[in-house]
């Protein structure tokens, strides 16, 4: 790992929610300028990890360093400054429903830069062009398909030319063509703009096809970390079960339960 330059360093992180352990003492590294895929079964708190990185949630112990800075010890103003260097693509797109596509993309620039209206318009057209939706600039979010909404959200996430873009389940609920488009876009953005990308997903094929670095989470632990090839070659039964989608294996099918005898009244 030391060969890679870390952009985000998660150190001994623990997080509990309502008495349930989400993470217990996990450590992982997100290398600079690369695409890192964080994978794991549903319900392992992958989205929670992104929210912890963005400091929307506070960990119960441990720390997250972004560029060497502990995000959870920053003041509100400093935190907002750090967040300006982050873009996040939410699972639902999270476009502002009362603004048009162009206004959505322009919003972060209007809020954080002193660019003139015409400059913002030019950048908006540029960003929308890069996701192939310049023609949709005047539509409202309710008029977009799911795949288009996600692409608009992507254009908005990169509006301020962030250093870090986080993708929350970008492929879920997308048809194969949209998936392909998104895979290509994520790769392109990462390489041309020198962005560090973090991708949270349980779509094994898409994720492994673009990720430079992969972490697999299960049961509150990191069960594997390495390059896509290393992960594919892994002999760990848990990793194999996840990658191949086998119903039987170390990851249980049943939610933790009482012994049946305790529930059946005889």
């Amino acid at each position: 790992m030391s060969a890679l330059d870390a952009y985000i360093d998660v150190k001994n992180l623990s997080f509990f929610r309502g008495g349930r352990v989400i993470y217990e003492d996990i450590s992982l590294t997100i290398p600079k300028g690369k695409i890192t895929a964080v994978m794991g079964p549903s319900g392992t708190g992958k989205t929670t990890l992104l929210r912890l990185i963005a400091a929307q949630l506070e960990p119960d112990s441990g720390s997250i360093l972004i560029n060497g800075e502990n995000v959870h010890s920053l003041s509100r103003t400093d935190l907002y400054k750090v967040r300006k260097k982050m873009g996040m693509l939410f699972q639902s797109g999270a476009l502002f429903s009362d603004m048009s596509v162009a206004e959505n993309v322009a919003f972060p620039m209007e809020e954080h830069t002193s660019l003139s209206k015409s400059e913002i318009q030019r950048i908006v057209a540029d960003k929308l062009y890069s996701v192939g939706l310049r023609g949709a600039a005047n539509l409202m979010p309710s008029e977009l398909s799911g795949g288009m909404a996600r692409r608009v959200a992507l254009a908005r996430a990169i509006a301020l030319d962030p250093e870090l873009v986080m993708y929350d389940e970008p492929f879920t609920g997308q048809d194969p063509i949209s998936k392909g488009v998104l895979v290509k876009l994520i790769r392109q953005l990462n390489d041309t703009a020198n962005i560090t990308s973090v991708l949270v997903s349980h779509d094994v094929e898409e994720s492994l096809s673009i990720a430079d670095h992969v972490c697999i989470l299960a049961g509150g632990r990191v069960i594997a970390e390495g390059s896509a090839e290393e992960i594919r070659a892994s002999e760990d039964p848990e990793v194999k079960q996840f990658l191949n989608g086998e119903p039987d294996g170390p990851v249980p099918f049943h939610y933790p339960e009482d012994a049946l005898a305790n529930e059946v009244v005889l």
């Binding site: 963005a54 967040r83 982050m86 699972q91 429903s97 972060p108 809020e111």
Partner: protein
């Protein structure tokens, strides 16, 4: 012993919720806007959707309540031969009591519920998180304009309610029942005092507007972001809002008109 303990626990959790709501309100209102022009635009948009769109329901119910009041008042006052006093009755009942309370109840149902649902849905679709991720404070951007718009609108709506109520009552009593219009107006003018009646009614409406809008935006912001959670939060806004209005009304009436 157990009941006492659970009562105490309930009270503590209630106190905690009130405290949280207080901090929430302070943070959303007293944090200064970054860009003045934009804040004004946001506020105007909310004034429209919270205030202007509530006008129809307020005007229609105001007119009907004034009409009913005139009918009822006339039938009793006529027994004493003092049907001209219906103007006085209308004006005092509306300004002191009915306009602030009924407008606030209508406002809780019409504007309060829609504020809660809108904010709740923004939370469910991650729009609030999205503001936060962009380094924009959702309290300042989403909550503050809605709260301020609500506080401004309700007292004005209450005045409009009074006016349409009096016009409705005028139509029924003077136009239909044949009350002398000069007596109707002069008795009203004689008995209504600006500071005691109009200002006090306005203050009542102002207090209700703070309570109702506060409850509405807080319930939306704190709701469980699922369809069930939003539904429950919307119901809570209307129920808690209405109860708060009626309880506050008693306290305010006692303080304003209680010294005999």
């Amino acid at each position: 012993m157990k009941t006492v303990a659970s009562l105490g626990a309930w009270f503590l959790s209630w106190l905690e919720a009130v405290g949280r709501a207080g901090i929430f309100l302070a943070q959303s209102v007293f944090r200064l806007p970054v860009r003045f022009n934009e804040s004004v635009n946001l506020l105007i948009k909310q004034l429209y959707s919270v205030g202007v769109l509530s006008l129809v329901i307020v005007v229609v119910s105001g007119a009907f309540i004034g009409m009913v009041l005139a009918l009822q008042g006339y039938s009793i006052l006529a027994k004493f031969g003092s049907e001209e006093a219906v103007g006085q009755l209308l004006a005092l009942a509306l300004l002191r009591e009915l306009a602030p309370v009924v407008t606030a109840l209508l406002f809780a149902g019409r504007a309060g519920s829609s504020l809660t649902a809108e904010i709740g849905l923004m939370k469910a679709t991650e729009q609030l998180s999205s503001f936060e991720m962009m380094g924009v404070d959702p309290l300042r951007r989403v909550i503050a304009p809605r709260f301020i718009a609500g506080v401004i609108c309700l007292p004005l709506l209450s005045l409009i309610f009074s006016a349409t109520g009096i016009i409705g009552g005028l139509v029924v009593s003077v136009g239909w029942l044949g009350v002398h219009d000069g007596a109707f107006w002069s008795l009203m003018q004689q008995s209504v005092y600006f500071d005691a009646d109009i200002v006090n009614g306005f203050i009542k409406a102002l207090c209700f507007s703070v309570a109702v809008t506060w409850i509405a935006v807080y319930q939306g912001y704190e709701c469980v972001p699922t369809s069930e959670g939003i539904g429950k939060a919307t119901t809570r806004t209307v129920v808690l809002g209405s109860l708060a209005i009626l309880a506050l009304d008693f306290v305010l009436t006692a303080a304003m008109f209680g010294d005999f």
